[in-house]
Amino acid sequence: RFKSSTVKECIHAILKEKLANVQYNPEEMPQLTKALSETIKDRLKEEGFDRYKMVVQVVIGEQRGEGVNMAARCFWDADTDSYAHDVFMNDSLFCVVAAFGCFYY
């Protein structure tokens, strides 16, 4: 079973570790997002959701005071599939990580 809370904890821990003192730099961010998504994906695999296909989405944006609204919509079986997301923010950037787990029948 895809446990949102544990996944969220994982994401949170990783984000905290990786983004603690990161300033927004438009050139570095693409690599960072990729690295983050990979890290999180691997970490989630370690969690042992064997029957789940994982999709990890990482979005990093600069904090300039603008309003941001992100939403997701999934075509899935709500009984088994689930997602977890976590938001990390510091002065210069915000990072939104959404992890979707699709049950592999």
Binding site: G65, E66, A71, F75
Partner: protein, 1081 residues
């Protein structure tokens, strides 16, 4: 024949895109077919679309090449070179196919089912092509038609991609024309060449939805035939084509017809399914998916059947290697079984199938025979290839057989509709299975052993190829080298093996999915909000950018308690005062006066000269009173009329002083006196009343002071206890009134005294003040006072020069309040003349004076006796004294107050001085000599300066005397008819006129200028006895006002203004009078 192989590799490299771009018509077509399948595959399993496409293609190619080979072997012995080339490339293709297969093992299974359908369609097209070929060769006209049809076919095939089931009908319709012909031929050429038969068989089975994998071989052959043939067509109908071919074609056509019929049936089924699908497709996507799944499942199951059969085929082929005849027979028997099965489904095909089987067997033998040494190699190779396949199938056999029944159960569950068919098929399959163990177990074991050995060898050599897809091109290069060393053959085994396993896996998965999908509900009804970051407001932004970190700004306003309060009120002013009641003195109240109040009071109360103010007010009051009186007179014509009535002929107008006062009733007027300085002021002396009625005033005489301009009421009323005989004003002002009484006392009234000092009386609503005398000589100075009634009181002016400026004196004296002291002369009947000095006291003693007993308390004026003269002794000579003369009247000379004249009762007027000086003439005598007892009643001095005086005598004679002569200038006797003259007075405005009043109340007016002998006018007052007369008028003025105040006995006082002719002075009147007087002298 290099093109197909290259194309295959191209297909391998470029998954799907290259397909449609394949060069050549043939490839184009073949490439097209797969695409149709590809698209159906996408419908079924979209996830693996791309990879499936590539695999499929490669497989197909291999099959084609195999078919081609067989086809060449069978039909084209002549074109061996070409075949060889083909053959050389075949393994290559196969190898590549295997590579891909091994890699995409998982995906293969699903793809295969679609491959089958593709193949089926391909067959159709190839058959048609063959027909066209034949037609072309027969008749050139048909060729064009064929080409056209071919293109149509292509189009149809492309359309098949989309509508697998509907399009075939069209094809069938097209081919219907030819079908009739072909049926005829088909009956004739039932027995035909082997390849035809083979192809027919393959086709036949494929029409049965290709349930036997064995047919791949045949299919491949047919395909290769097609390829061959097309190449031939490209080479403009190669002349090498044999008649067999033609025959075969004809047979194929016939078969084709049959096949088409079957196709029709199948199509019906398909259509039915399709319809179902469509019905379901109306339902939501999930159901559609499940449908597709079910469809897939259906195909899968078919595949599984194919596999089973294939495995049997494989075994049969294996047998055929050792014992071809047996294999053929076995094949035949299996085909018979199949036939039977087919009969169940479509009985009408049975005959044809039997024929087919027969021809198949025949073809087999023919083939073996026809293909000589050259073909032997190929055969062995083919056989080996088949064996590998068989071995693969055998290897997967255990799994397969195990799952076999399960699959069938699933099948039954899912597709109840097809139970009949399936049951039949199952039965066949079971029979096959049973047959296999009986007939071939031993052979299979041998083969398996050999295969395993070979596989071992190959596995060692080709591990890498299996692993990596990307190395395919490299492997393709390697493959040709390995080709000759049976690499291709081993690859075939492995590929088949993998295919088997993958198929089983796929079948499992599909089953699973088919089971699961209905249970799973997919939806995306919920959407998740991942992040909602509101925009930061400007202030926070500013603070973040420019403010200090982690601080917050706050504003506090201090000094809130700094309020101002203000109250505005009036100060309460306090002042201490005291008062006492009843007041014991003038001070009844008082208190400390603060400085502020002082200033205010000082400002409010300016200094007032009270004395001056009082004087002003007094005079002003008089003026105003006079004005009011005049106004009143003017507004009362009635009263005026009455006065007019009483006016005399000698007068222009007249009026009465209002003596109709209650206190004046019944009092006779004894005397009138007009002030010398204020001519309008008149004194009237009223005697005692005849009957006492008013208590207070009962025994008192009254003196009224009138202002003739204010006739309505007397100005002041003076009272005294005794009867007043004579009175006079002070010479310079009207402030003092002197009166002599009948008892010899002299009285003085100070008119300036406060009225409060005198008794008041309210008579007929008017407050009257009755002034008592300020000073009285009554009872004091007994030694000097008169003992007899006072006859006359005369003021004696001390001024020496009054004579010169007589007119001015009055004015000057009037202005001086404190006039110079003057004397009063009083003369009684005894001839004693007393001189009194009028003294004004500076200090008022309210308590009364102890020394001045005659002075009223608070009075300021008193009389001091200065001198006394006995006129009788000093004035008259001895001879006159003998006659006992009595002084009656006295007049002081205005020009020289020391001189006076005294009238006597013997007709003589004596002249004396105060200081006993001798003056001449001592006596003024009348013209008649001799002393007679004639009393002198009136004496009046000429007022215009000349020392003249008039004397009125009781005998009615009037004498005009000159001071310097003893005898008169003129004497008028009998002017009054002997009636005594009471009063006589010079006119104040005209020197030549004087007025005379006699005792008969007649008034005579003398105008000496007009007539010096007789009076010019005489007026007798009727109805009343006129007691006395006084003239009013101002000598200095020429306004023509000359009034005569007539006091009547009744108490009335009439004032008559004489006519202008006597009042207005005439020019040079004094000179004319002098001339007259001189003439008279």
């Amino acid at each position: 024949m290099a093109a197909p192989g290259q194309l295959v590799s191209v297909f391998c490299q470029h998954a799907g895109a290259a397909l449609t771009q394949a060069a050549g018509v043939y490839w184009y077509k073949t490439a097209k077919d797969p695409e149709a399948v590809v698209l159906t595959a996408t419908l079924d399993s979209y996830i693996h679309r791309v990879t499936v496409v590539s695999k499929r293609r490669t497989k197909e190619d291999t099959w084609k090449s195999e078919e081609l080979r067989k086809h060449l072997r069978a039909s084209q012995p002549d074109s061996q070179n070409e075949d060889r080339k083909h053959r050389e490339k075949k393994p290559q293709k196969e190898k590549s196919v295997h590579d891909t297969d091994t890699h995409k093992h998982d995906h293969k299974d699903r793809g295969k089912s679609k491959e089958r359908t593709r193949e089926r369609e391909r067959f159709k097209s190839s058959e048609r092509d063959r027909e066209k070929m034949r037609e072309r060769e027969r008749a050139k006209e048909h060729q064009r038609e064929g080409d056209r049809e071919r293109y149509k076919d292509k189009l149809q095939e492309s359309s098949l991609e989309k509508e697998r089931y509907s399009v075939p009908k069209d094809k069938e319709r097209e081919s219907d024309r030819e079908r009739e012909k072909k049926h005829k031929r088909h009956e004739i050429k039932q027995i035909d060449t082997e390849n035809n038969l083979k192809s027919f068989e393959g086709r036949d089975k494929e029409h049965h939805r290709r349930r036997e994998s064995r047919h791949h071989l045949k299919e491949e052959k047919t395909r290769s035939e097609e390829r061959e043939r097309r190449r031939a067509e490209k080479k403009d109908n190669d002349a090498k084509k044999s008649t067999d071919k033609f025959l075969a074609y004809s047979v194929e056509e016939g078969e084709h017809v049959q096949k088409l019929q079957k196709n029709q049936e199948l199509d019906k089924e398909g259509e039915r399914r399709h319809r179902e699908k469509k019905e379901h497709s109306v339902r939501p996507g999930k159901e559609r998916l499940s449908k597709e799944r079910s469809h897939k499942r259906y195909e899968k199951e078919e595949e599984e059947k194919h596999k089973s059969r294939r495995s049997k085929e494989g075994s049969s082929h294996g047998d055929r290697e050792g014992q071809p005849a047996e294999a053929n027979e076995r094949v035949k028997s299996r085909e018979n079984e199949r036939m039977k099965r087919d009969l169940k489904s479509s009985g009408y095909e049975t005959e044809e199938r039997i024929q087919e089987e027969m021809s198949y067997q025949h073809a087999r033998t023919l083939k073996d025979k026809g293909k000589l040494t050259e073909k032997e190699e190929r055969d062995t190779r083919q056989e080996k290839m088949k064996d590998t396949r068989i071995s693969n199938s055998d290897m997967g056999f255990d799994n397969f057989s195990a799952e076999y029944e399960d699959d069938f159960e699933d099948y039954e569950d899912d597709f109840d509709d097809y139970d009949e068919d399936k049951s039949g098929e199952e039965r066949d399959a079971e029979e096959n299975q049973r047959e296999i163990p009986f007939s071939r177990t031993s052979e299979i074991e041998e083969i398996q052993r050999a295969i395993s050995a070979e596989n071992d060898r190959i596995h060692t050599s080709l591990p890498k190829k299996i692993e990596n897809e990307k190395k395919e091109p490299v492997m393709e290069k390697q493959c040709p080298s390995v080709r000759n060393s049976f690499c291709g053959i081993f690859m075939d085994f492995q590929m088949a093996n993998q295919r088997q396993s993958s198929r089983s896996m796929a079948s499992k998965l599909k089953k699973r999915s088919s089971e699961l999908l209905p249970l799973i509900d997919l939806d995306f009804s919920v959407s998740f909000s991942l992040l909602d970051l509101p925009p930061v407001n400007e202030y926070d932004m500013y603070i973040r950018n420019f403010g200090k970190m982690n601080t917050k700004q706050a504003y506090v306003q201090c000094n809130e308690d700094n309020l101002e309060r203000d109250i505005q009120t009036e100060e309460v002013e306090t002042l201490e005062k005291w008062t006492q009641h009843p007041g014991e003195s003038a001070l009844v109240s008082g208190g400390p006066i603060n400085s502020q109040g002082m200033s205010v009071n000082g400002a409010l109360t300016p200094k007032i000269d009270s004395q001056r103010l009082a004087n002003f007010l007094r005079s002003a009051c008089q003026v105003i009173a006079v004005l009011l009186e005049e106004d009143q007179v003017a507004t009362k014509p009635k009263w005026k009329l009455r006065s007019g009535q009483t006016s005399l002929p000698i007068s222009d107008s007249c009026f009465q002083l209002n003596t109709n006062q209650p206190f004046l009733h019944d009092r006779k007027i004894s005397c009138l006196y007009v002030s010398q300085v204020q001519r309008q002021t008149l004194l009237s002396v009223h005697g005692l009343p005849e009957k006492a009625d008013v208590g207070l005033l009962n025994r008192k005489s009254i003196i009224c002071i009138w202002n003739i301009w204010q006739p309505s009421s007397p100005q002041k009323v003076l009272i005294c206890d005794s009867e007043v005989t004579c009175c006079c004003f002070s010479p310079n002002k009207t402030a003092l009134v002197f009166a002599g009484t009948i008892d010899g006392s002299l009285l003085v009234w100070d008119l300036r005294e406060d009225s409060r000092m005198h008794p008041h009386m309210v008579i007929s609503e008017t407050d009257w003040t009755f002034r008592v005398p300020t000073f009285s000589t009554d009872g004091i100075l007994n030694s000097v006072t008169h003992t007899s009634p006072i006859l006359a009181v005369e003021p004696v002016s001390t001024s020496l020069y009054t004579d010169q400026n007589y007119g001015l004196s009055s004015l000057s004296y009037q202005e001086e309040m404190s006039s110079p002291p003057f004397q009063i002369a009083s003369m009684d009947e005894n001839g004693i003349l007393n001189m009194w000095v009028v003294v004004e006291l500076q200090k008022v003693d309210l308590a009364g004076s102890q020394t001045d007993l005659g002075l009223i308390p608070g009075g300021k004026v008193k009389l001091i006796h200065s001198s006394t003269m006995d006129l009788n002794n000093s004035l008259f000579p001895k001879d006159v004294r003998q006659r006992m003369p009595q002084t009656l009247t006295i007049k002081f000379l205005s020009s020289n107050p020391n001189h006076f004249i005294v009238g006597t009762n013997i007709g003589l007027v004596g002249q004396g001085t105060r200081n006993d000086l001798k003056v001449l003439p001592k006596l003024f005598r009348p013209q008649q000599s001799g002393l007679r007892s004639i009393s002198i009643n009136a004496i009046d001095f000429f007022p215009f300066g000349k020392p003249l005086f008039l004397v009125g005598c009781s005998d009615g004679s009037i004498r005009l005397h000159q001071m310097t002569s003893e005898y008169p200038l003129m004497q008028w006797n009998d002017s009054t008819n002997g009636r005594p003259i009471i009063a006589l007075q010079w006119a104040l405005t005209r020197p030549a006129v004087f007025f005379v009043l006699d005792a008969s109340s007649s008034i005579y007016i003398w105008d000496l200028l007009e007539n010096d002998l007789l009076p010019v006018a005489k007026q007798t007052i009727q109805l009343a006895n006129v007691v006395t007369m006084a003239l009013l008028g101002e000598p200095g003025k020429t306004n023509g006002l000359l009034g005569i105040a007539l006091a009547k006995e009744s108490g009335q006082i009439d004032i008559q203004y004489v006519k202008k002719k006597w009042a207005l002075p005439q020019p040079e009147e004094s000179e004319k009078l002098n001339l007259i007087l001189l003439q008279s002298i």
